[in-house]
């Protein structure tokens, strides 16, 4: 066996082991979702593939509709869609403003964008909470969507992307008599399409999984999103564990499917913010 082949085998085995370690929790959840919740309480989450205790009861229960799971599911879906569409449109517009023009205060404003990326959002929890309370937006989706609408990370990404778009497009648009806004809508937005895909997926993933702020804002169980709903199932009583575990499994599923279909965009979106050397 040549040296190259042995290097290949060693690397492959090494990564295969790491990969198995990383996938174990998913395997455990999948197995557990076929077992009764009381098993989970008695024996904990484990790897035992025991067909004698495994059945589809949890899945039947999940789809029986005797609980709010799918209300939460569709709330999350709705919120994610609204959040992604608004965030992308607003952030792209802002990014275009930063990339296409020289104007007074531009550098200062852009430093603000960068600073936001370094300030922990968590320290704003209390003032935002009192603000939301005072303007009467408690328990509303607007309170969740609005603060993130001009997302610093998304603006940053779009601006980086727009740097690669030739400025001649804008000049040509002006020569043809298009207005400043016409240029953006008709000439620039279409060019930005690929970057929209990456950001849609990244923002969608964040929004689907978002927990802390919605958890603080929403008080009405009918408005809960999926992560909040699942969190409320975490009580010491066995019955909920059936739904918790199968619900957790099912909450990963849509993202898994999206991920498999759009892998490239996930990975582009994730690495896009990274600084180029």
């Amino acid at each position: 066996m040549s040296r190259d082949t042995s290097v290949k085998i060693i690397l492959f085995v090494f990564f295969a082991i790491l990969c198995a370690l990383i996938l174990i929790p998913f395997y455990a959840v999948t197995i557990a979702s076929f077992k009764p919740g009381e098993d989970l309480i008695r024996y904990g989450l484990n790897l035992s593939f025991d067909l004698s205790v495994m059945n589809f009861d949890n899945f039947v229960y999940l789809f029986s509709g005797n609980h709010a799971y799918f209300t939460w599911f569709f709330n999350s879906l709705l919120l994610t869609i609204v959040q992604v569409v608004l965030t992308l449109l607003v952030s792209a517009t802002v990014a275009y403003g930063f990339s296409a023009y020289e104007f007074k205060g531009k550098n200062f404003l852009f430093i603000c964008v960068l600073l936001i990326m370094m300030v922990p959002f968590e320290i704003l929890l209390l003032p935002l909470y009192t603000l939301t309370h005072n303007i009467g937006l408690m328990n509303s989706y607007s309170a969740i969507v609005l603060p993130g609408i001009a997302s610093a990370a998304t603006i940053f990404f779009f601006r980086q992307y727009l740097r690669g778009v030739p400025k001649e497009i804008i000049a040509a648009g002006r020569v043809d008599g298009a207005t400043e806004y016409g240029i953006y809508v008709r000439l620039i937005l279409p060019v930005m399409k690929p970057s929209f895909a990456a950001m849609a997926i990244l923002n969608g993933m964040n929004s689907w999984n978002n927990f802390l702020w919605p958890f603080m804002v929403l008080s009405d169980a009918g408005k809960y999103t999926l992560p909040i709903g699942l969190k409320t199932l975490l009580t010491p009583y066995g019955n909920n564990y059936d739904l918790l575990i199968v619900g957790s499994f099912f909450s990963i599923l849509p993202i898994f499917i999206l991920f498999v279909a759009f892998q490239k965009y996930f990975i582009d979106g994730m690495t896009a913010g990274a600084v180029k050397g």
Binding site: L11, P25, V94, L126, T130, E180, I255, M270, V275
Partner: protein
């Protein structure tokens, strides 16, 4: 008239960036300012606030629970940095090797945990690190003859669970960052080094590491932020904001406890300002040391 004004090339940029200005003022400047103001007051929702000067801060300095929270957050940050920078970097270099089979599959599988919500991931880890003999981790330990460990009841073992969770979720993401950074290193450098007879280790320390510096700084910056601001992971592992003897309490957890659970808004605001100060000082020092500011055009 108004239309002509709005459509001019001088005004248009402001129209484009207006949403950011509004969000920045309304959801960042104002809350930050009010947080700062609140930290000098005794303030509870639904009651008259009173000015108390620096007393919230003075109280914080002598507050053992707060110091515990700061220590926990700092230890968590250091541990996650120690794990989540060298290993992902090494894995990225290895997986980038031309001898690698199944690169895309491994990249995807490593990244996949990042897609799960903290709620779901935290629940899974809580159950995996359960104290029963049959729980995943304990059943593995049993093979080696180690008795069931009550992971979430001890300081060290609790942190093992916390750091495992972070490692599981973020190794793949950081690896992707490093892979993106590696793409920017021209192959010629390595070829030239090979001709000069450099070993693999030399190539790694003399070419890869220095040229990956911008990526490393980026990963370091976001990891410092994420480490210091960690909260929900702990909340999920201990099923609430109360861990035995506060072994899992973090700065944000304390902010949440004081502000939301105890309605001590002024005191909690002071916690937030301290967190902001710590984050900024560490990150700016780190950026200054790594020469990031000099590089800006």
């Amino acid at each position: 008239m108004i239309k002509k004004f709005l459509y001019s090339q001088k005004v248009a940029p402001y129209v484009f960036v207006l949403p950011f200005i509004l969000v920045f003022l309304f959801f960042w400047v104002y809350p930050l300012g009010s947080s700062f103001g609140m930290s000098f007051q005794k303030i509870q929702l639904g009651q008259e606030a009173s000015w108390v000067g620096f007393s919230n801060y003075e109280k914080l300095m002598g507050d053992g629970v707060f110091l515990k929270a700061v220590t926990n957050s700092a230890v968590y940050m250091v541990l996650t940095l120690a794990v989540l920078i060298p290993f992902p970097m090494l894995f990225a270099v290895l997986i980038n090797n031309k001898f690698m089979w199944g690169r895309d599959f491994f990249k995807s599988s490593f990244f996949f945990p990042a897609l799960t919500s903290v709620v779901v991931a935290g629940t899974i880890f809580r159950l995996m690190f359960g104290e029963m003999e049959g729980s995943l981790i304990n059943s593995v330990l049993a093979w080696f003859g180690i008795g069931p460990v009550k992971f979430l009841k001890g300081q060290v073992t609790g942190f093992v669970a916390l750091v495992s969770l972070a490692t599981w979720r973020w190794t793949g993401v950081n690896m992707l960052y490093f892979l993106a950074g590696l793409k920017n290193i021209p192959d010629e450098y390595y070829e030239a080094a090979s001709i000069d007879g450099a070993s693999s280790l030399q190539k790694f320390t003399r070419i890869t590491m220095p040229l990956l510096k911008p990526t490393t700084i980026y990963v370091l910056t976001i990891s410092i932020y994420a480490g210091l601001a960690m909260f929900i992971e702990s909340m999920m592992l201990w099923n609430g904001n109360n861990s035995p003897k506060n072994i899992g309490l973090t700065i944000v957890g304390y902010l949440y406890r004081q502000g939301i659970e105890k309605n001590n808004l002024g005191y909690a605001a002071a916690v937030g300002i301290v967190l902001l100060a710590i984050t900024m000082v560490i990150n700016l020092t780190q950026l200054a040391f790594s020469g990031m500011f000099k590089k800006e055009e």
